[in-house]
Structures are given as C-alpha cells and as structure tokens.
C-alpha cells in the first residue's frame, strides 16, 4: 500500500500543477509582474493549497506516526541564516527570469518544448553543483 500512496501523491501533485495553469511560465511571470500585466492566479493556487494543507496537517500530526513509516521527517531548524536568505533570493531571480520553479519545470517538459529540457538540465546541474562544490 505504501508505494501506491506515494505514487498517488505524485500524480495528484502533477495533475494539480497542470490544472492550475502553473506549468505555463507566462502565468507565473505575470503573477510576479504586479506593476504590469498582473495575473493573480498563482496566489489562489497557493491559497487553496494552504487551505487544504494547514487544517490537514493539524489532523495528520495528531497521529503518533505516519501510516507507513516510523516517524514524520520534519525540518527542526528554526534559525534564519544567510544561506536561507541568499538561497531564496537566488531562487526568486531564477524563478522570475524563466517563469519556472521545480515542479512546473518537470511538468512543462511534457510539452516537448526544448527550452524546458534546457532549463531542467541546468536546474539539476545547479543542484549537483551545490552539493559537490558548496556543501563539501
């Protein structure tokens, strides 16, 4: 049953990104363009997700453990360090330039448009680079 639920979660996530229109980089960049052709759709996507997850997590965390694992794997750090700030800053710039963040970048490759594969390769390269250059 465990693999089935993980696959289901992935499928719901991918379908949600697709249905919401967030795999369209133009919609994402327009969301960030508050001074121009603003498209507020992304705010509703996040808002709806938060309205489901916030009460949902409240009830899930009442369980002593997840259904198919020994414990919840949750971040424990509370400090605001320079890596959090710089990382979020750089991510925001890349997100705005391309209109793509990680989940939509995956979904957008289904269009077959070569630019999305280029972005995805660069993103993965960045992740690997960070692991082996900055974290070592």
């Amino acid at each position: 049953m465990k693999p089935w639920f993980v696959g289901l979660a992935g499928a719901l996530f991918g379908a949600g990104i697709t249905v919401s229109g967030m795999a369209n980089p133009a919609k994402v960049q327009n969301f960030l363009d508050v001074a121009g052709s603003w498209d507020p759709s992304l705010a509703l996507v996040m808002g709806a997700a938060l309205l489901v997850v916030t009460p949902g997590f409240f009830f899930v965390f009442k369980m002593s453990a997840p259904k198919y694992a020994e414990a919840f794997a949750l971040p424990t750090r509370k400090d605001i360090d320079w890596k959090l700030l710089l990382g979020a800053l750089l991510f925001g710039i890349g997100w705005a330039l391309s209109g793509l963040c990680p989940a939509p970048a995956l979904v957008a490759t289904l269009t077959g448009v070569s630019g999305f594969f280029i972005f995805l390769l660069a993103m993965v390269a960045g992740m690997i680079l960070y692991r082996f250059v900055f974290e070592s």
Binding site: F5, A9, G10, A11, L12, F13, A15, G16, T18, V19, S20, G21, A23, K27, L32, D33, G36, L44, V45, G47, A48, A49, L50, G56, F57, V60, M63, P66, Y68, A73, P75, I80, K83, L84, L85, G87, A88, L90, F91, G92, I93, G94, S98, G99, L100, C101, P102, A103, A105, L106, T111, G115, I118, F119, A122, V124, G126, I128, L129, Y130
Partner: protein, 146 residues
C-alpha cells in the same frame, strides 16, 4: 518576452487544492514533505533507500500531469518565455538557490507555511520579493522582458 495571460480563478483553486491534497497524502502515508526541489535533488543524489520513494513520487507526478493535460488541454499552448542563455542561467539559479535555501514554492511555500515554520515564511517572502523585483527590472526598466 511578455505573454499576456488571463486570470483563471476556478482552475487555480481546483489545481491548488489538488496540490494540497497531494502534500497531505504524502505526509499521512510516509511522513514526508512534498517539496519538489528536495525530492528532485534526493532522487539523484541520495542513496537507494532514500531515493526510491522520491523516484516513485516523480513517476506519479509525470503520469498525473500527462493525464490531466490530456483531459484539460492545459499544456496545449504552453511554451517557454525566455531565451536559451536566460533559461540556463535561471535553471542554475533555481537549482543552487533551492538547495541553499532548503526549499522552493512547494516545500517552503505550501508545506512550510502550513506548519507555521518561520524559516519557510521568511524564505517565501524573500523569493516572492526577489521574483517580483526581477520581473520589474526586466519588464519595466529594460522594457521588453528577456
């Protein structure tokens, strides 16, 4: 390149609720955060036991997206809005930035804020602000976008 889009509140809310439900299913079943940058990085860089659930989630993500796009046609008119050099720079920034900052729109923006995590609230505020500032620069200071 500036491509106008229309506000789509209904599909935004339906899609957002599905994303939320996905995060709930993952937390309820195996106690993991549905943060896509961490899942992608872990699927490539982690050892086998940590890699497998991530690969399964990503396989589901592509299948779910494919089915949804065939039903709704949501990907029919989707194309890239940036040039190849910009896509490469942006991809590197997203890859490095999400790992350095410990999350992206899903991990910090949805799961973290839902847990009232201060780090996630700060990170989401910062990437929204730097994103908006970047779009302002490329569209309104440079004119046409990149």
């Amino acid at each position: 390149m500036v491509v106008e889009t229309v506000f789509t509140p209904v599909t935004a809310i339906i899609g957002g609720a599905m994303i939320g439900l996905a995060a709930l299913v993952l937390m309820w079943s195996i106690g993991r955060i549905a943060g896509i940058s961490g899942i992608v990085a872990g699927a490539i860089l982690e050892a086998e036991d940590e890699r497998n659930w991530r690969l399964l989630f990503l396989a589901g993500l592509f299948v779910g997206a494919l089915i949804a796009s065939l039903i709704t046609g949501a990907l029919d008119d989707v194309s890239s809005i940036a040039s190849t050099p910009v896509l490469i720079v942006a991809g590197l920034l997203v890859g490095i930035g999400t790992r350095m900052g410990g999350g992206c729109t899903s991990g910090h923006g949805v799961c973290g804020i839902s847990r009232f995590s201060q780090r996630s609230i700060v990170a989401t505020t910062v990437f929204m602000a730097s994103g908006a500032a970047t779009v302002f620069v490329i569209r309104h200071l440079f004119g046409e976008g990149v």
